[in-house]
């Protein structure tokens, strides 16, 4: 059965035919885009006019996010910015500390079990003049149940006295840089860094595996995709034990799931040899909705956590260099063997030294195993300079830049972590575009909200949360931004022949928009209203998910 959708406008992202009014679909695939007249030749069809006043784009592709975004919505959102929940209620941002506390108190009032923990997420005190949250404030909500609030960065947590007590930290004499002490010699309740957070977070209701996602969270994640116009999304750091793969196959195979999920197996907790074997075993379990068989390597830490590996001149505030999260030899083993076996690898590199290590290692690996079209991708790649982008181009690497991070934390990078010059060149999408490096841009949800149109706005405007324009030279155009959130991201996943543009033979995955991104333009792209999506020809209305 052929269906022809009519639309106010179709932005195909196919440069050979950038605009159309109709798209014909059969069996979940696109027969063609064009005028009704051009499509009628395919045979008997049903004309579907439900989108006659909407604008269609290819379903958006989020190349770096985590299903965890769905799981976190079980907890109380206390972020500064308004954020849409999976169920569609726009949760107002907490504009000051009192708002945070009263939102937590309201959530507390709904808990029946007196011992149940109260977890909150996405706190960001930098917007409250860095006023810190201490345990006394959280104790006003409850002294009997453990309370913990994860910061938006994911690197800091604030907890109440009960949580400290359960973790054995409510005592004097603690001597650790990640545990600030109050005047009474006891911890203030602020916990900095994963090592310090981990023993407490299990008591305050966060999952053992912070990046994991359960079935309910996965469905919630799917709803968020519909609201953001996303039809293909990665789960960029998954352990993928058998039971998780079974769950993911069930959920995505249900027929009602609205997004294609691309989970990457990350390297932690498994030897390089076993990692390759695991991924080889995963690949054949892929379906059209669940794409397995890729590797994610975390090479260094984060810039704002001072755990990223930087080259000279190092951190602006003089902090010592960060940490390697993998030994160079192990990185080399994985890259070489993955190249030889045709397994795709994405590498998290925040600092420019981490980026250079991957470049150098990749160069050696390519000499041993000459490869074309591998599309190994540097994720974040926030600090790379122009010389590094030239090498990235020569080696056939792709980048996926953290445009949202530039908006939310650009001011901190300017003032504290790397200083003005390098802060301005961070997330250099303009350089990538000029040099022809294939690139995507990303949210890293749940670190920042899932929403590629917003991410595109960030990359075009490079405006920080305080309103500073950070790095004019690295701004990209509307066309480049729209490409980055569709074909660009699809390319980094080897899926650009299948999704990312609306053209004959590709999957009928669309973002359905109330507004036309070309009319919204550079300034207003983030305000584009999303009706929902179409996945494999099936519509998903945001209002009804």
């Amino acid at each position: 059965m052929i269906k022809i959708l009519s639309a106010r406008k179709i932005l195909t992202m196919n440069p050979q035919k950038p605009h159309a009014t109709h798209v014909a679909i059969r069996d979940g695939l696109i027969l063609g885009a064009g005028s009704l007249e051009e499509l009628e030749g395919w045979g008997k069809y049903e004309l579907d006019t439900q989108f006659a006043d909407k604008v269609l784009m290819p379903g958006l592709v989020e190349g770096h996010c985590h299903l965890q975004e769905g799981a976190l919505w079980s907890h109380t959102y206390v972020g500064f910015f308004d954020r849409m929940s999976p169920e569609g209620d726009m949760q107002a941002g907490c504009k000051n500390l009192d708002a945070v506390l009263s939102k937590l108190a309201a959530a507390e009032a709904k808990l029946n079990d007196p011992d149940a923990p109260l977890p909150g997420w996405s706190l960001d005190p930098i917007y409250f003049d860095n006023q810190r949250v201490d345990r006394a404030q959280l104790d006003t909500i409850s002294t009997t149940r453990p309370i913990g609030i994860m910061h938006a960065s994911g690197h800091i947590m604030n907890v109440n006295s009960k949580a400290l007590e359960l973790a054995g930290l409510m005592r004097p004499g603690i001597n650790h840089e990640g545990v600030p002490l109050g005047n009474d010699g006891l911890p203030t309740g602020e916990l900095k860094g994963p090592d310090v957070m981990s023993p407490v977070s299990i008591h305050v209701g966060f999952d053992r595996d912070m990046l994991s996602c359960d079935e309910q969270g996965m469905w919630r994640f799917g709803k968020l995709c519909v609201r953001a116009g996303v039809t293909t999304a990665t789960d960029l750091a998954a352990r993928l034990p058998d039971e998780a793969v079974t769950m993911m196959r069930q959920v995505t195979g249900n027929g009602g799931y609205p997004a294609r999920i691309v989970p990457l197996r990350f390297h932690h907790g498994v030897s390089p040899e076993d990692l390759i074997k695991h991924v080889e075993a995963l690949a054949p379990q892929s379906t059209d909705m669940l794409r397995l068989g890729r590797i994610k390597i975390v090479v260094d830490g984060s810039i704002q956590g001072f755990s990223a590996r930087l080259r000279a001149p190092g951190y602006y505030n003089g902090a010592p260099n960060g940490l390697w999260y993998i030994a160079p030899e192990q990185l080399a083993y994985i890259l070489e063997n993955a190249l030889a076996k045709g397994i795709q690898v994405h590498c998290h590199t925040n600092g420019d030294e981490a980026t250079q290590l991957v470049i150098d290692t990749m160069r050696k690996a390519m000499r041993k195993t000459p490869s074309t079209d591998h599309r190994f991708t540097l994720q974040h790649c926030q600090l790379a300079d122009t010389a590094q982008f030239r090498q990235i181009k020569e080696l056939g690497l792709c980048v996926n830049l953290f445009a949202n991070h530039h908006h939310y934390w650009g001011d901190q990078h300017y003032e504290l972590t790397v200083g003005p010059e390098r802060a301005e060149r961070m997330n250099a999408a303009g350089t990538a575009a000029r040099l022809g490096v294939p690139f995507g841009i990303h949210s890293d949800a749940p670190i920042t909200p899932l929403g590629p149109l917003f991410t595109g706005w960030c990359a075009m405007n490079r405006k920080t949360a305080s309103g500073r324009t950070l790095g004019d030279a690295e701004k990209i155009t509307l066309d480049q931004a729209l490409n980055a959130i569709t074909l660009g991201a699809a390319y980094t996943l080897h899926m650009d022949g299948e999704v990312g543009s609306i053209e004959a033979g590709k999957r009928a995955d669309f973002a359905v928009l109330e507004d036309d991104p070309e009319e919204m333009g550079t300034e207003r792209l983030k305000d584009t209203r999303v009706w929902g999506t179409v996945l494999g020809g099936k519509p998903f209305a945001a209002a009804h998910v």
């Binding site: 054995g168 930290l169 005592r171 004499g173 603690i174 001597n175 650790h176 840089e177 990640g178 545990v179 994963p194 090592d195 310090v196 981990s198 023993p199 299990i202 053992r208 595996d209 034990p241 932690h268 907790g269 498994v270 030897s271 390089p272 040899e273 076993d274 260099n321 940490l323 390697w324 999260y325 993998i326 030994a327 160079p328 030899e329 192990q330 030294e353 290590l357």
Partner: protein, 292 residues
């Protein structure tokens, strides 16, 4: 002796011999119930006959030792270890090749009196250390590892040239001037197990695990036995320090697992397919009296 769990951290870059040392330690546990934490099992070739049971992140070994992989969450693994029953006598942590043992020790300090780092042992490959120190990607990591060491073990000395040996020794003197240095692995085992290496507070005092001669025997009753009675008789025997294995319990012929440490034991249901047999570790007659 307090309930403090003593820990020794073994660090050093890839190829320095950490896994070899861990294997030696496991084969020479001498009745100590060791808990060995490794980043992942991949590189740890444990002799199959030592393995009693295994799941994703824990291998139970003959003699009551366990080996756990902590992946990317060491602190969570330690939280669990703290609750292990019976409690291990000593935790040996194998840090990953790029981990900074000083940072690990700082994090472990958050466990307060529950877990205490007795010493940081850093292994350095005599042949490769000079190269690592000349590698811009690695130098600062290797130096930060050495700076945290209480004991530096220079390994693979038989493969190194004299200039390499001299360079390595100079580097250790420079970056770990206060640490004890030993030039091969044979003494390392002794020092790690006895925690003599430590510049940290020794909280074991006179109760530190001594090098008591131990013997191991296996009993495999052919008939169902009264499991409680057998366990109690082992617990009452001062020479027995550890016992572990499976038994067919009378009167209902169910398979149970016995775990015994000193005077305490636990009997838990076991898989019906388990092979009956108890490994008993006991002190030799002439040393037993010192212990009680």
């Amino acid at each position: 002796m307090s309930d403090t769990l003593p820990m020794t951290i073994i660090a050093g870059y890839l190829g320095a011999g950490k896994t070899t040392l861990i294997n030696q330690i496991l084969r020479n546990a001498n009745g100590q119930r060791l808990a060995v934490l490794v980043n992942e099992f991949g590189a740890l070739p444990i002799d199959a006959d030592l393995i009693e049971a295994q799941d994703d992140d824990l291998i139970a070994l003959a003699g009551g030792c366990v080996c756990c992989s902590y992946g990317d969450d060491l602190m969570l693994a330690l939280t669990k270890m703290r609750e292990m029953d019976p409690k291990p006598d000593h935790v040996i942590l194998e840090a990953s090749g790029v981990a900074l043992p000083g940072k690990i020790a700082a994090s472990v300090s958050l466990f307060g009196n529950d877990i205490q780092v007795l010493g940081i042992v850093v292994l350095a490959d005599a042949e490769c250390l000079p190269d690592h120190l000349a590698d811009t990607y690695l130098a600062d990591t290797v130096i930060r590892q050495l700076e945290a060491a209480d004991l530096v073990v220079l390994t693979k000395t038989d493969l190194a040239t004299e200039p390499q040996m001299q360079n390595s020794r100079d580097a250790i003197d420079r970056y770990a001037p206060k640490a004890t240095r030993i030039d091969n692995g044979t003494d390392a085992l002794h020092q790690v197990l006895s925690a003599d290496a430590s510049a940290h507070d020794l909280i074991l005092g006179n109760d530190a695990p001594h090098h008591i001669a131990m013997t191991t025997r296996t009993v495999a009753p052919t008939e169902p036995v009264n499991a409680n009675e057998l366990a109690q008789s082992l617990a009452d025997n001062d020479a027995v320090v550890r016992a572990k294995g499976h038994l067919m319990a009378a009167p209902d012929n169910t398979m149970v697992t016995l775990q015994l440490v000193g005077k305490r034991y636990a009997l838990t249901p076991a898989d019906a397919s388990a092979t009956p047999g108890i490994v008993i570790i006991e002190k030799n007659a002439h040393t037993a009296s010192h212990r009680t």
